[in-house]
């Protein structure tokens, strides 16, 4: 039976193509600007091309949210064969995307759009989309997603702070690292905040700490490993995690262009949704 409501997200959800197709999820792209050139995330440029350009580029690209008009177009199209839609987006503390969606939705009459500010980024949003898509009604989907928003976590290891600093999202002070030593901060995105939860000197220590951190966060109901151009490491981490969390699927996902602009290459992330405490 065809679902009566649509599920919409944006390109920062790092939604795997396979999920997009299976669950018929609509992705609205954010934009990446290399100087004068504008690319739609995951549409005009593949992730591989993006990271190649990022590494080669002397100036950093900038990113921008979709316009309200672009959202309105999508909602209008979906209104033709759906009763309503849930539109789940990157945290409003990080991007204007959710706000653009809200404004866009208000211009489409007679079509219910439940915009959800996920307060997070990357694959936790993809998980929320799946949960929504598996729900039997828009109301149920919205409730299931909204109650999980406060439990979404992104634990990120950046190979360098250069990109996130240039992007203005995190300062060195926030990351608790000085300007002298090449420290690797572990950043946690949770409940509208980005905070440094640890800092270490070497990548392998950092990875070990990430795994320890997530183990201490148990129980979790969804867990994935994200990477920016570090697939082997990500697979190895996922294999370890599947051992430790035998009930979980632990997919490996690729960090997309927009997020990649801020994380830089070689970033790794453990993203998860904590289980609701009883």
């Amino acid at each position: 039976m065809r679902r009566s409501f649509a599920v919409v997200t944006d390109s920062t959800a790092d939604l795997p193509n396979e999920w997009r197709d299976r669950y018929e999820i609509e992705i609205v792209p954010l934009k990446v600007l290399f100087g004068q050139e504008t690319f739609r995330d995951r549409v005009d440029m593949t992730d591989e091309e993006f990271f190649r350009r990022l590494a080669a580029s002397t100036s950093l690209p900038t990113t921008s949210a979709p316009s309200p008009g672009e959202f309105a177009d999508v909602y209008r199209r979906l209104a033709q064969d759906h009763d309503g839609c849930i539109s789940i987006h990157i945290g409003a503390q990080l991007s204007a995307t959710a706000e653009a969606a809200r404004v866009g939705a208000s211009s489409v009459d007679g079509f219910t759009v439940n915009v959800v500010d996920s307060e997070t980024v990357s694959m936790p949003i993809a998980f929320l989309c799946r949960i929504a898509a598996e729900s039997s009604s828009l109301a149920e989907a919205t409730a299931a997603v909204e109650q999980r928003v406060p439990r979404c976590r992104v634990l990120a290891l950046l190979d360098t702070l250069r990109y996130v600093e240039m992007g203005g999202r995190v300062s060195r002070a926030q990351a608790m690292i000085g300007t002298m030593l090449d420290l690797k901060p572990l950043l946690l995105v949770a409940n509208r905040e980005i905070k440094s939860v640890d800092r270490v000197r070497t990548r392998s220590r950092a990875i070990a700490r990430m795994i320890e951190f997530v183990r201490a966060e148990q129980p979790v109901e969804r867990l994935a490993v994200m990477h920016a151009q570090a697939p082997e490491e990500a697979e190895a981490i996922a294999a370890q995690l599947r051992n430790k969390f035998p009930d979980l699927e632990v997919p490996v996902g690729q960090i997309g262009c927009v997020l990649g602009t801020h994380t830089g290459p070689k970033a790794l992330g453990l993203v998860y949704i904590k289980t609701q405490s009883r």
Partner: protein
């Protein structure tokens, strides 16, 4: 009074004996320094003992107390505050044991003096975790035994007991190489033991000089400023003043005085005895502090320092400690002992609130560390000595501050960096201590320097000037140039087990030497990442952290 001098040790005689010790050690401390068994340029034993003794005598000089117990107490307290290096800390414990043994006594018989010497040695043994024979401990004990033997003779006198103690010390010092392999290897006697021998010999000299040196009397008569005449201009919005002085009086109540002074400032330190109390306070209103204290007795050694200047010296390094950096949630401050401009910047950048300049050849005193700890705006502090020779003095601070102090026993700069990196502001102090210690132990330290003397250590024979490489404080390699020694040291550690080498470049290392060292590491160990940091440390052209 001549009769009393011959038969008993009163306060002024003991004071003279201590001044004699100081003069004799001062004249000979370089000789003690040369007894260093290690070829590395580190905190010299003679200098550390001399500075500790100077601090012991500092307050004694001001006192006219007739009772030996009072002078001994002052010496005990002063030495504790001034303790530097391991030998200095042990010396302070010797003074402490002596002061305990003579408590309540106005004058000592020869037998009582001998007992006090023995008690002093016992206290020193108790203070050390794993007492080692062939060190200052053995020398202290043998001096005590010899003194006891002399005291039991019918012709016992104070000069004879002291002479016996000095002779016992000398004999024990000569035996130290037979007790300790490292001394035998290096062909020297124990430096700390020799320092103690000099202290006892100095006492003996003061006995032999029948008349006390007039200068030492003159020095004791420094006029104190009458409280009523002190007036100071206060700058607006300044740091306030670091105000320090001694109160000499009767039945002084340190608790009561502390309570009153605390209402006038912060970083309050009030320590001492009923007759003499040392006060330290940071205040905007030194005049009131001085007026208050003046009510208890005579003020001595009044020193009011403008903290804006002091801050530049000790606390500038604290960077944002009191300014931009927000207060930490866990209420735990970080204080580290560091030397070298670059290393100071690194530790500051990692969030350390106050830095005590010092380390390798310049071991900070207990008091230096205490002052820094009192200066940070936290009631709980983690202290990183970052040098094996500073740890003992750092531990002494625990008993001197009202703050909750944890010493993270870091033996080197790399251990210190690893420990600080592991500090988390949301974690409790004891949890941080555990985590920091664990991280410090994961890192390996390679230090590269030049031998300052010919010696043999850990089976390695070195010539003065050789490049030497130490792994975790143990001498492992000697050679002609830095890259070669570092390559061997990394090879010994087994580079496959490590990822990252951080090279802290010292003041002496040239660009070319650095480039050659880097390329040697990269060529021989391509699996290791190499990061270079400007450390500007003295004496060690390179310190490497391997993790």
């Amino acid at each position: 009074m001549a009769a009393l001098k011959a038969t008993g040790v009163d306060g002024q005689l003991f004071k003279r004996a201590l001044l004699g010790s100081l003069n004799w050690l001062a004249a000979n401390h370089e000789e003690v320094n040369r007894l260093n068994v290690f070829p590395v340029p580190d905190g010299d034993t003679g200098t550390n003992m001399l500075l500790t003794l100077q601090s012991a005598v500092e307050d004694v000089k001001e006192s006219n107390a007739a009772e030996v117990s009072k002078i001994a107490k002052l010496a005990s307290h002063g030495s504790l505050m001034g303790a530097r290096g391991n030998s200095g800390v042990i010396l302070s414990q010797i003074f402490r044991g002596f002061a305990r043994a003579v408590e309540g006594k106005g004058s000592l018989t020869p037998a009582e003096l001998a007992t006090a010497f023995e008690e002093a040695a016992n206290a020193a043994y108790r203070a050390v975790n794993k007492p080692t024979e062939g060190t200052i401990l053995t020398v202290a004990r043998e001096a005590g035994r010899a003194a006891a033997t002399a005291a039991s003779s019918p012709e016992a006198s104070v000069p004879r007991v002291i002479a016996a103690a000095a002779a016992g010390a000398r004999a024990a010092v000569l035996k130290t190489p037979s007790q300790l392999q490292i001394l035998r290897d290096a062909g020297v006697v124990d430096a700390g033991g020799y320092g103690l021998q000099l202290i006892l010999e100095g006492m003996l000299k003061s006995m032999e000089e029948s008349e006390p040196a007039p200068s030492s009397i003159a020095e004791t008569r420094r006029p104190a400023s009458p409280a009523s005449q002190v007036s100071l201009d206060l700058p607006e919005g300044g740091w306030g003043y670091c105000t320090e002085f001694l109160i000499e009086g009767d039945n002084l109540d340190t608790e009561l005085i502390r309570g009153q002074i605390e209402s006038l400032g912060n970083s309050v330190l009030v320590v001492g005895e009923p007759e003499l109390v040392k006060v330290h306070v940071h205040t905007d209103d030194p005049t009131s502090v001085i007026n208050l204290a003046g009510g208890y007795g005579k003020l001595l050694k009044l020193n009011v320092g403008d903290m804006s200047t002091q801050h530049r010296r000790i606390l500038e390094t604290a960077g944002a400690a009191s300014g931009a950096r927000p207060a930490r949630a866990n209420g735990v401050g970080l204080v580290a002992v560091v030397a070298g401009r670059g290393l100071v910047e690194i530790f500051k950048g990692l969030g350390v609130d106050a830095i005590i300049e010092g380390g390798q050849t310049m071991n900070p005193s207990t008091k230096d560390m205490l002052t820094a700890i009192e200066s940070v705006p936290y009631d709980e502090v983690l202290l990183l000595p970052n040098n094996g020779n500073v740890i003992a003095a750092a531990k002494q601070v625990v008993g001197l501050t009202k703050k909750k102090l944890h010493v993270v026993e870091t033996h080197s700069v790399p251990q210190g960096v690893s420990a600080v990196v592991a500090f988390r502001p949301e974690r409790r102090g004891d949890e941080n201590l555990r985590a920091m210690k664990a991280e410090a132990e994961r890192v390996q330290t390679i230090e590269v320097t030049h031998a300052v003397r010919d010696t043999r250590s850990n089976g390695v024979r070195v010539k003065k000037g050789d490049v030497i490489g130490l792994i975790n404080d143990r001498l492992e390699f000697a050679g002609d140039d830095y890259p070669e020694v570092v390559k061997k040291a990394l090879g010994k550690l087994g580079p496959d087990a490590y990822e990252l080498v951080t090279v802290y470049r010292g003041e002496q290392a040239s660009d070319d030497e650095l480039a050659r060292l880097e390329s040697e590491i990269r060529t021989n160990y391509p699996g290791l990442e190499v990061e270079v940091q400007q450390g500007d440390q003295q004496h060690y052209p390179f310190i490497l952290s391997v993790e």
